[in-house]
């Protein structure tokens, strides 16, 4: 059964502020309005935008705690991954050593041949 995400409590305020912003924008752009009325509309636009910015910022700051928790949950897996990386690197080093011995046999054989 599909679950639905809980409604964002900020959404109604966000919608109301946007509706108000539309009205203020219409007043600002209305050529029939006086300069004073248009200036007032401009100030209102700025104020509404500040409120919307606060809502948008609240989403971001509100997520920080959850994000920290999710990031902390990565630690056990990351530790295992680092251990695996270390193990593989160690194996690689041991293989290099083994290969050196194998290829070095020829040098030993050549050197020993002096005494043969």
């Amino acid at each position: 059964m599909a679950t639905t995400a809980p409604a964002d409590p900020k959404q109604p305020s966000f919608a109301a502020l946007n509706a108000l912003l539309q009205t203020a924008n219409a007043a600002f752009h209305n050529p029939l309005n006086t300069q004073t009325a248009r200036d007032t509309a401009f100030d209102l636009i700025t104020t509404i935008n500040d409120q919307l910015t606060a809502l948008n910022q609240a989403v971001f700051t509100g997520n920080t705690v959850d994000l920290k928790a999710a990031a902390a949950a990565m630690t056990p897996g990351m530790d295992q991954l680092k251990a695996l990386q270390k193990e593989i690197a160690q194996l690689g080093n041991e293989l290099k050593e083994a290969a050196s011995i194998v290829t070095g046999i020829d040098q030993v054989v050549s050197a020993l041949a002096i005494f043969a």
């Binding site: 994000l67 999710a70 056990p76």
Partner: protein, 310 residues
């Protein structure tokens, strides 16, 4: 006659073993993990760009408002603040760095670097031995009992093949469990980052970006109206020409953030598919998700590259 026969049979044995041993050098899961890592890196890098874009646009809006209101309000330096609080932004940077490190480690443990290093070393050793053979020591080689170049190469090949098996054994023992363990945090992180960005019709960074451009457009229109009497025709043309550029920048910003959300969704889906198909040889479900993720990462990259070049 015996020595050439022995050499031939030894060579045959090693040559026969080699494909068997190295045929499984990179398991299907390791190959898929490496592919995931490459595509994930591109998405992770560009997610940072989304935060930078929103912060920069907010700053530009503050500057535009300062200019518009300067005669009435003057300049108060304390009002100039970043939209994204530095402490919260630092958490995103850390998380993205963590994801990046995860992708890098996945690539490292899934790759064939130890074997490549071994082969590089073997080549270097081989060349020094070749030098040795050409000098006076050559004449002291025991008759037919020393290792010739071909045999040395085969011996190193055998070590490489055995190494591949050992490494793959370690990998197949640990990697599936790690992918399972990481899947839940990866899903949660991607969901939260997507929620940060949101869409233009919901509170979040996408709405803020869109709104900032709207505000810049209104401020620009007010500037043109307020100074209509004093602007020369050329100045007026320049100021008016700014308006469609702001609309264009708004459209591109909206698209870039929407693409970031899509790429994060793809990253989460691809990781879930990677973990979900860990025991499968062929994983068509993962391949589909990977293709989508790679495409989204590419789209994302082109959006931010285009925005940064402006």
């Amino acid at each position: 006659m015996k020595a050439p026969i022995r050499l031939f049979s030894r060579s045959l044995l090693l040559c026969g073993l080699f494909p068997l041993l190295t045929g499984c050098a990179l398991s299907p899961l390791a190959t898929r993990t490496a592919a995931f890592s490459t595509a994930a890196t591109a998405t992770i890098n560009q997610t940072n760009s989304a935060y930078e874009l929103v912060n920069q646009t907010y700053f530009d809006t503050q500057v535009a408002l300062l200019v518009a209101n300067y005669n009435r309000s003057g300049f108060d330096p304390s009002k100039i603040k970043p939209f994204l609080p530095p402490a919260d932004l630092a958490v995103r940077a850390q998380v993205l760095q963590g994801l990046q490190q995860y992708a890098t480690l996945l690539a490292e443990v899934s790759g064939n670097q130890p074997i490549t290093d071994l082969e590089t070393q073997a080549k270097a050793t081989g060349s020094s031995l070749k030098t040795l053979q050409t000098d006076s020591f050559t004449s002291f080689k025991m008759n037919g009992t020393g290792l010739n170049d071909q045999e040395k190469n085969l011996a190193v090949t055998a070590v490489s093949a055995l190494g591949s098996i050992l490494i793959e054994h370690e990998r197949s023992r640990a990697l599936p469990g790690i992918l399972d363990k990481m899947n839940d945090p990866i899903q949660k992180i991607c969901t939260i980052l997507e929620s940060d960005l949101g869409t233009a019709d919901k509170p979040g960074l996408a709405a803020e970006l869109h709104q900032n451009y709207d505000e810049q457009i209104v401020v620009q229109q007010k500037f043109i109206a307020d100074n209509a009497a004093t602007l020369t025709p050329e100045e007026r043309r320049t100021e008016i020409a700014t308006l469609p550029k702001l609309v264009q920048a708004q459209q591109q910003g909206d698209q870039a953030l929407a693409a970031t959300v899509k790429a994060l969704t793809s990253l989460a889906a691809a990781h879930a598919a990677l973990a979900g198909t860990k025991t499968q040889k062929d994983a068509p479900a993962f391949k589909l998700e990977l293709t989508q993720m790679a495409q989204d990462a590419q789209t994302l990259n082109s959006f931010y590259t285009s925005l940064k070049s402006k």
